[in-house]
Symmetry: C2
Subunit: 266 residues, 2 copies
């Protein structure tokens, strides 16, 4: 038994879609969430700066006494995972391999699409991970930088979102993909419009697999929370922009309060 909380972090509030899957699948666990809203987005920034920011955040979560960390951010997962695991001792789970594994399992025609931020797509991480599962799978990737601001604007189902989804997804559809990984934590907010633009393909939200992976890890290591009282989750953001309230209400079904925390200089 290990009563300490699980740390989940993201470049901003998008990682709340991952926290939401944890609340569903691991309802007895406590969560400490950190969203770097002062420096969001990470997806258009360099690998060096994102690695630095991530290490500052993991140090912060360790100070909060977490037993394991989830790098909910695809940009972090695909660029900084080795650097973080080399530097820190506690278990760290990233989101890319989970999504890649699911795509490899469900594709029928061995043709998978991946959408994400510029940085995630440029890293080639999903392609590498999918090919590690099955080298015969062909992966087509597309950066969709407008999807994050669209989700944050609340334009998740209007003409602008539809036009953007059609432009971004056309070349993947032309390649005959039969499954599509949402390679950014914000994208599940746009599931409806993406599913419509993508025609009949299977849309994969990696967060579901990540929560399963964490459950397996805690069970295997005997690290599940033992206390039977109601878990108390904590949410931190590096800047109070109002986005946390808006997105937490959509994703978690209730407006949690977030504290402001500074991580610079760790």
């Amino acid at each position: 038994m290990d009563d300490r909380p699980i740390g989940i972090f993201d470049s901003g509030v998008g990682g709340l879609t991952v926290a939401g899957e944890f609340l569903k699948l691991l309802p007895d666990e406590e969560i400490v969430y950190f969203g770097d809203t002062a420096r969001v987005p990470y997806g258009s920034k360099s690998k060096e700066i994102v690695t630095k920011f991530s290490a500052q955040i993991v140090s912060f979560l360790i100070e909060k006494n977490v037993k394991a960390v989830v790098a909910a951010c695809n940009t972090v997962s695909s660029n900084c995972y080795e650097a973080l695991t080399a530097r820190f001792d506690l278990p760290i789970i990233e989101v890319v391999s989970a999504g890649a594994g699911e795509a490899a399992r469900i594709t029928r025609n061995n043709t998978v699409g991946v959408i994400g931020t510029e940085r995630t797509i440029a890293s080639g991480a999903y392609e590498r991970m999918i090919k590690a599962e099955n080298p015969e799978i062909i992966v087509y990737s597309k950066a969709c930088p407008l999807f994050v601001p669209l989700a944050e604007e609340g334009w998740i189902n209007n003409s602008v979102a539809a036009a953007a989804a059609e432009i971004y997804l056309q070349e993947l559809i032309d390649r005959d993909i039969d499954s599509l990984i949402l390679g950014c934590t914000h994208y599940p907010l746009l599931t409806d419009i993406i599913t419509r633009a993508a025609g009949g393909v299977s849309v994969i939200n990696p967060a579901v697999q990540v929560a399963r992976k964490m459950r397996a890890l805690l069970e295997k290591r005997g690290m599940k929370r033992g206390k039977s009282d109601k878990p108390e989750h904590k949410f931190f953001v590096s800047d109070n922009s109002g986005k946390f309230d808006k997105i937490s209400r959509i994703v978690l079904g209730k407006a949690y309060k977030a504290e402001i925390a500074e991580v610079e200089g760790y």
Copy 2:
């Protein structure tokens, strides 16, 4: 005479549209530009964090020996100008009063529209400044958070940009504005699509007035550059994301090189 350079800073690369007007109007002056590409965008962040970031950058520019500073970022201009002028001794020019003054001069029906980031619009700064010029002018404002990522995606003239511009501008057109201030340094990149969506209204880029204001200030104080050799401009960014090359080529007509500089902890 004062041979020191002029400092211009912005939350990212959008301020290059301001630097471009300076190169045209003050061709003998040297410029030191800083774009906070590691922490862009400012427009959706809180006043406190944006004030902190701005003060770090002005300190950095002072270390680079500038004689005056332009806060090219509308978010900074409309939220942090008092805090910056209270803290630093050198002349600081902001962009909001310049744009407001021009709108007050050219409106015929005393009905002006302002578009900008969420933070700029929430500050009410343009409205206050315009009413200070002429209390009879009615100002309608609209935050357009998608315009910055559209400009950075290079989608400055496609169906997505057109749909976004139509949605954002409709309520301003319905109010019968006859002039529209581009209250964000990125927006001049979208001038064509904004002008089309806005019908026959006069579109105002405040950067033109800002450059004139700086010229007047330098002349009045005898601070113009005396050297006759070709000015050497310096460009700094806090993260190398590739955006600088792309936007500097569009805005300045040639690809300047930017150095990476860290401003955290000033």
